[in-house]
Symmetry: C3
Subunit: 416 residues, 3 copies
């Protein structure tokens, strides 16, 4: 009986939502100037002399790196549980594929809608932003891995993308904050969204299934594939949508440097924490990435190479400490079970990233940015942006969590 439910509900949701997507895309979505066959006319009008000026060539390599992070990076990072390797990589694949489509629509309505035609015009930058939006939901998935059914995951993604698009609009367009790599918009929102859902769905008997949650030697090696692709391509993540030229160049350098110093402090704290001096693979797999999260907001700023190293230095320490002390505290005291430790990898480093961005913006002088930069005397707007991300994450997660809780009675969960 229960099995029949499962058997019918996931297919039904997939079919119904995919058909809805097709209809909405048919009504709203068109190619933009640079991906339309009339682009040559457009080039002539805009005095562009070479096809290499198409935004595609500025952003496509970074887009592909981001795409690898979403599907291989997040997917394999979640294979560390020996019993949920398929679930980690497989459901990550499913919800990312759905989320991308819904994100193109939601973000399109807010950012790429031409009011005169009522159409959303998409190009390579929309694809990157859709991948970014989905990243927020995949982060949230990390908190509830192994605790929710596929249908719950799809619902969580539907609402997650919706909330994301709204908070992104508020932060970028109303507050005019800068958050190219999404410390606030992606990581703070996604992290707290997942934690709030996990808090609502907390069940005491969860502890009984803990023996199912162990990792084995080769599942940890699989997870390193995810870690390394995330680590290597994070410079592309933070620079993918920044402005052409020195903007993308500097964002990549800052993120690259920040991540290197994060590795060293992660190793140091991990080694200190164990009596034998051995390293804990959980720390190596996760905390080494915290630097990339924390450079998200400020990557494009003139933070200086040593500034980037300092941010990484602090994040490696804090994130590893998080695994050692904060995660057990969250579980025992606040009853929040965080399967992948997203609080330490995303939520907390995201907050640091928001603070770094606010401070950098508040203290930037016009002379540093030359004639082209805007004056970043807007630390306050950056800080306000972070509050918005946090409120949307916690508030949205609590409400969506309650809804998922209702669904739970109706569904059983295939163990795959």
């Amino acid at each position: 009986m229960a099995n029949t439910n499962v058997r019918l509900k996931l297919p039904f949701v997939c079919f119904a939502w995919q058909i809805a997507m097709i209809i909405l895309f048919g009504v709203f979505v068109r190619y933009n100037n640079e991906s339309d066959a009339h682009w040559v006319q457009n080039m002539a009008q805009n005095n562009i002399t070479s096809a290499i000026e198409n935004d595609f060539y500025y952003r496509y390599p970074s887009f592909q790196d981001v795409h690898v992070m979403i599907f291989v990076g997040f997917g394999f990072l979640m294979t560390f549980l020996k019993r949920y390797s398929f679930g980690g990589v497989g459901f990550n694949f499913l919800i990312a594929a759905f989320g991308i489509q819904w994100a193109l629509l939601m973000q399109g309505w807010f950012h790429s809608l031409d009011p005169s035609t009522g159409k959303i015009y998409i190009g390579i930058e929309n694809l990157i932003n859709a991948d970014f939006c989905v990243a927020g939901c995949l982060i949230a998935y990390g908190a509830v891995l192994g605790k929710v059914s596929p249908v719950q995951l799809m619902v969580m993604t539907l609402f997650g993308v919706t909330l994301y698009a709204v908070e992104e609009y508020i932060i970028l367009n109303l507050l005019h904050a800068i958050d190219a790599g999404g410390s606030m918009i992606i990581h703070v929102f996604g992290g707290y969204y997942g934690l709030a859902i996990s808090w609502v769905l907390y069940r005491p008997n969860l502890h009984q299934s803990k023996h199912l949650q162990g990792s084995v030697y080769h599942s940890d090696t699989f997870a390193m594939i995810g870690t390394l692709f995330l680590w290597m391509f994070w410079p592309s993540f933070n620079s993918a949508t920044t402005y052409h030229g020195d903007g993308q160049h500097r964002a990549a350098i800052n993120t690259y440097l920040c991540l290197t110093s994060c590795v060293l402090t992660t190793v140091a704290i991990s080694s200190l924490s164990q009596k034998t001096g051995k390293l804990d693979m959980v720390h190596i797999q996760n905390s080494t990435l915290a630097g990339g999260v924390a450079m998200g907001t400020a990557a494009v700023f003139m933070v200086s190479p040593y500034g980037a190293l300092i941010v990484g230095f602090c994040c490696g320490i804090l994130s590893t400490m998080g695994y050692l002390y904060i995660s057990p505290f969250l579980e025992k005291t606040l009853k929040i079970h965080d399967t992948c430790g997203i609080h330490n990898l995303h939520a907390m480093p995201g907050v640091i990233g928001g603070i770094v961005g606010a401070i950098t913006a508040a203290t930037a002088s016009e002379s540093v940015y030359g004639m082209q930069g805007t004056v970043f005397a807007q630390g306050g707007y950056q800080a306000a942006g972070m509050c918005v991300a946090m409120v949307f994450g916690i508030g949205g997660g609590a409400i969506v969590g309650e809804f998922l809780d209702k669904l739970q009675g109706l569904l059983t969960q295939p163990s795959w």
Copy 2:
């Protein structure tokens, strides 16, 4: 005695063929304008003011993505059999490395030969086309995985590349059909070539070795590496050789969208097909990719974003149905054993792609493509192209299969 044969024959084939390649490259192959040290003179003559106009910068990122699909994508997708993981990834490596060289020559004679000098001039686009050509042979390998010896594989690749180059010439240069991502040229040809060979080589006692063909949990996780790299980089595959600017841009967007909707319908059908509602990893590993195959021909056309979603929607359903119903039928009734299910992943979606291309071309109006597009009133030529690909695949495969069958008596097969 038999072992001595094996021990001598594979080395002999590798050495002899590699020496032949060196001689033929010495006689025929030279750098083209853009990869030759005289390019600066060439730039001046052609009023190119910047080195960034070199075709290398338009295509190299896509080329590397295609390269990953060939070696990691196809290679790891074939590691799902616990007993043939090495064979899958290792022989894939061997035949791709040989096939690339032979493809550069064969395709060069047909497409890049300067009649005045009798030389083939190669650049980055030739490398991509060589990778494409090899993809056809690797698809065919998927049908006979675990059933043929390395020498047979080398022979199969030699003839496969030769046939490919001829059908490609007929389809692109004589019929003037369009097939940028190779739905017809690569997937229909490669699919039927492999199936025809497998049909000729069919042995009843094959069933006895079925227990050797199971997958285990971690071999399925390895296969997901192949799946994901194929899935993520397919937009590069379909856009790698399309025209600069909006052509590459649009082909990438269409493929990206088509693949996302394919994932949802694959999951839906897979879940429906199992009593418990669990998902079958074979479907997730393979059918999610069918959308990329089916967008091969029409990727560069103005199919509209929703059109791309519809193609993916249908392919996910058909490909998964193929694994459930068509593969068992092919094996029981037609005596075609298809180890990796290439009929469902390549042959059938390739046919769909050819049909989509023909319909789109037949119904395209000049106004859609603006001043730069050609009039695609050529649905008939597209359809003719698909027939050529199918005839070459089935006919060529049957003949090559007979030849391999003769070889089988002379060779034994190392199990690696």
Copy 3:
């Protein structure tokens, strides 16, 4: 007691060195012209009309490929030992992250220091060169994998990067040799540096731990991930820092071709060497890459496509022969234990690469390179460069090895 030492020393080294890096970066390192926010002014001064002319767009895709080679390529290639998979991929990660920072400083002082300001100005090319420099140390790690502690590895990397920067300065700036892909600077130096250290650290009782060094089926499959990413992205490695336009284009083509022929001769010799004709995974994992090493120096030269195939042909044979005959000889007679066989993959092919470069340079005529090429009548300087690399490798390795030997008494080694 010993454990306490380990527990304190690795964290201490990580913290102290990372703090030193931050201070040195604060004093010395700044963004260069193209990554600074004043770049728009700079564009105007230099008559650059488009942001696409920023060096970032010429080199970033290659940089990311190199980055993947360093972390996934080298890291996973070292997972083949079932007991040291974590150590291989994890310590590779640690020392690469540290080495990159130190390399930016050391190489910066030699190559990017503006004497008027006393600052090092960094951009994308510096990041690639730092990755290159670290590659030398990771090669050396391959010789001592499983025999040294993390602290010893960090010390080895500190000195390795230092020696590398000096020999690179001598070879490129004083001798004006050309070595774009680093056959000499990276592979000869790194290979002999590691072998010399391994020779000094040789212990007879090492044999007792040999049963710990076996590989298992899935650890060999993991190692294939490393092999394939190295193999696929080697064209990017050899072309990443060559000159814009035809330079990068030709270097990629030459490397691509060289690697394909290397695969065939590796398979041939490997199959010949086994009584059953089966292939040895160690050969497939390593010797197939020797062609990329050997094209390092001459990749940008007009060696002709068939010339590249010949180099690969020879390297596949020699490298596989090395695993069969030279490695056992080195261990038995010279008491050099080479865990990953870096002599066969890096040192020896690097020497071949240096020789190929010297011969090509010595025989190049001005007419081949046209108006833009320099006259490469400098075979002698190339040969001298190789001697410098070898002397630095062997001499430096012997001295650093003695120092590590002293450290060994003070440290114990966590087995992770």
